[in-house]
Structure formats: C-alpha cells, structure tokens
Symmetry: C2
Subunit: 249 residues, 2 copies
Amino acid sequence: MQRAGLQRGVGVALWRQIADGIRSGLTNGLVDDNGRLPPESELAERFGVNRHTVRAAISALAHEGVLHSVQGSGTFVRRRKRLVYPIGARTRFSSGFGRQTRDRQTELLDHAREAAASEVAEALGIKAGEEVLRLEMRGIADGLPVSRATSWFSAERFPKIVDLYLETKSITASLARLGIEDYLRASTGVEARHADEADTDELQLSPGAIVIVTRALNVDPDGVPIQFSFTRFPADRVELTIETARPTR
Amino acid sequence: MQRAGLQRGVGVALWRQIADGIRSGLTNGLVDDNGRLPPESELAERFGVNRHTVRAAISALAHEGVLHSVQGSGTFVRRRKRLVYPIGARTRFSSGFGRQTRDRQTELLDHAREAAASEVAEALGIKAGEEVLRLEMRGIADGLPVSRATSWFSAERFPKIVDLYLETKSITASLARLGIEDYLRASTGVEARHADEADTDELQLSPGAIVIVTRALNVDPDGVPIQFSFTRFPADRVELTIETARPTR
DNA sequence: TCTATTTGTCTATATCAATAGACAAATTTT
DNA sequence: AAAATTTGTCTATTGATATAGACAAATAGA
C-alpha cells in the first residue's frame, strides 16, 4: 500500500495532488461497478494522509461536479454524460439544452450600458463608440453551471431589454414583446482554451480545465443584427453539435 | 501591469506558480542581455505579491540550479550548458566529467550488504540470493548534484570494497588495490523518465523534472562481471555521448 | 429493529504560505 | 567617497494546509 507519490513541501497542497490523482484515476480501477469511490478512511490510508485531507480533495471535485457524496452511503462519480448544446439557425440561449436536464435556469449576473468596442460595433453594424447594453448571464443545469454568456444589444434599438428580461426571464420573450417574433443565428465561431480566473470562478471549474467559447450573432428575419454574444461552456460538461442543414420531412 | 494569472486558494502555492512562470518565461524577455532578472521588488510588483513570496520562488529555482543571486548585484540565469558524460569501454564513474568543471566530487551516501535480487544476480553472473554489497553514490559538480548511482559488487569477491572506497575515494583505485588493474564497460542501457521523490530529493530537482537512467555492467579483462549499476542523471544538467568506436591514431 | 458502515461537523494544534516592515550587507553608480 | 540599488536577514502577524480525535447523522445490511 504505497503513498502513491505524494510530495510534501513542493508548493502543491496534498489535497490538490490527491484531487488530481482521483480525477485521473477514476478510470483506473478506483471506482467500483456502481461508480462508487472507496470510503474516505480507506482513501486516506491509501494516500498516507489524514481523512480530512482526503475530504478536502473530494470537496474540490464535488464543487467541480466530478463527484458527489451521500452521507451514510458513499461518494459517487457524477453522471459524466455531457449535455449537448445544438447550434443552428434556431438556436435560443434559454432552450438550448432542451429536455436533457430536469432542473435548469438562467440568471442575469450583471448588466451595464457602455460604448461599443470595435468588434462589437462591427458585429452589430453600428459605429464604434455608440452605446450598447451588455448582459452577463449564466446557465445552470441540475445545480451546476453549464454556460456563461456576455451579450450586447444596441442601446438605441433595445433600451428596455434588461427590464424586459428581468420580467420575462427570457431573451426570446423579451424580443417578442418588442415586436420581434422571430430571429435567426447568422454565424457562430467556436474556439477552445484553458479556463482563466473568471471561468474557474463563475463556472465552478478547477485550474487547467478547458472551456469552449462561441462567438455568435443573431439577426432579425431581414438580416439586421440584434444580438452579439460570447458564451463560455465547460468542455467537460457540454458539447456542441452544429446543425448545418435542416432535415426535410 | 497584470498579475499574470496567479490563482489563490487553488492548492498551488503562489511561490510555486511564480517559480514555474519565471522558469518558462526565461526566454520570454524577462531576462536582459546579461542574463539578469529584474530586481525582486519589481518582480513582486509585476506578479502582484509580496517580495518575500518572490524570494521563495527564486530560492526554489536557485536550489534547482536554474538561477543564482548575488547580494547587491542581482539574480542571474545559470550557465545552462549541460555537462557531457561520455560512455564507452573506458567509462569511469569518477572521471566521467573530465575537465568540464572545476569543482567536482563523489560522495558515498550509503552502503549495505544484501541478498542479490534476480536482475542483479543475473548481471553479475552469480546465483540469486547470494550476498552482494550495494553502494549508493552521488556526483556533485560545482556544488550541484549531477549523478546518483546505485552499484552492486559480489560480497564474496570484493568483501572490502567499501572500506577501500572510503580510503581511496575512487572505485577505480579500490579495484586496483585488489589487483584489478583494468576493467571495461561491457554494456550500458539508457532510459528516461520523470523524477520520482527520491530523485527530487537527492538530485535537487523540482517535481516534473526528467532523469536519464543508465544500467551499466563493468567486467574485468577476462570478461568476468565486476560491478553492476544504475545511475540517474538530471536531464537538464547532463547529456550522454556514446563512444561506439575508438578512433585509431 | 438493531448494528455496522460511511459521510458530516466540531474542536484543537502544528506547520506552511503570504504579507508587512525594518534594517544589514554587498555591489554598482554618481 | 558618497549615494543609490539590490539581495540577505530578522521579527511579527494572518490565513491556508494538515493532523488528530470525537461524535452526530444518514444509510445499508443483518
């Protein structure tokens, strides 16, 4: 029963080494057929540390969404099936995840009126420096953050969008109130990078995690830009599917 | 002047993050033309931490041999030229590094009498379980560890090898006292792997460093095995050259 | 139902990590 | 020679990390 290579005094906390070890060792015969981890006391003995140190590691992984514990029963690996976020002409922020989860919600974290940066202005087809409304939103599914979006609207065209959103809890509904019965996803760019500090904070990720970033533009039926947004998805919780063509039926 | 992405409370000490940052940023315009780092106070401000935290990072890198500091002057990048360890028929542990360094020494860390494991027995041409003498040695050049060797000798044939080594400070001289005027390197195997805990400890490496491991057998002029040894070299301080053929002259 | 197992919570203690400030010692610049 | 710069050392304080032990609360199994 070896101490599995934990190193002390090297500037990396034991609980972090153990958390990384458990995460990478999930496939490695550590979990049983029911997706259950060995009891904390056994893990503590196996790693050669105190039970509380193991608990700190498990707590980090639980916060990250990898594990969850049940008092009296044990600690289990979470449903690792990623949510599928479809991207196509009819993509809607609120309904993206459809019926894949029981409990989902969108919350407005912050909003502001500001001058349009060049990239935003170009996307929305306005002049740089013109006023825009910025909305910071987060999507949560089954208690775990699955998306983090920053959106811009023209302040001149949609001055009341924030109030409407707070009332209706939906961008689609808000736009409908403003007479825009339909809108389309004109373009979507996709990138991936390591999580920065804001990501680890707001999406409950651990350092080193990967986020998928989409850059999207919604337009009205006449092709006039309505909404420009950046959305960050945790790569281990979400995958994207691109609908390039609509199946005929 | 950004805080360069340091993260607090994630189980990785700030000094370790800074040390890694400095090490990987050495090429990245951090050092000037004289190989000098910015003053500690400036680094502290740049990373957004206390000067003492920067000092902890520098201390780790100095211990690792990457940097060295001079009071009143500054902190400099060490001569990064690797020592060359030639391997051939006449390879001697003590004189391997020749005149590449001014100050070099070999020290005996530990020794023991034990039963030969199967690999050792096979190499030395004796029966498994026969007694052998194991010597743990370390080579130091300019104050920095450059090799770590474990050697086995037949206890029956060389019972006094440890005493002789302590007296002569040389394996070659010890064997000469025993009437073995010459010996040859019969075979050398070479591998590379990540440093384990013993390596980081005894070779002053940081976690994640790479070590080159040689597996060598020395024989007397009649081809009878004398010494079997494993040697670990830090890959960032030492490189091996293999002499396959001896130049005629 | 009773018992054993397992996670959750609490107190206490020691060491490491990080900050803060002051001053000494060596070096470089003026 | 004097001043400025830079590393080295010291004390003190706060919070994070890790250990130790005890017991509560929930669950599973006999």
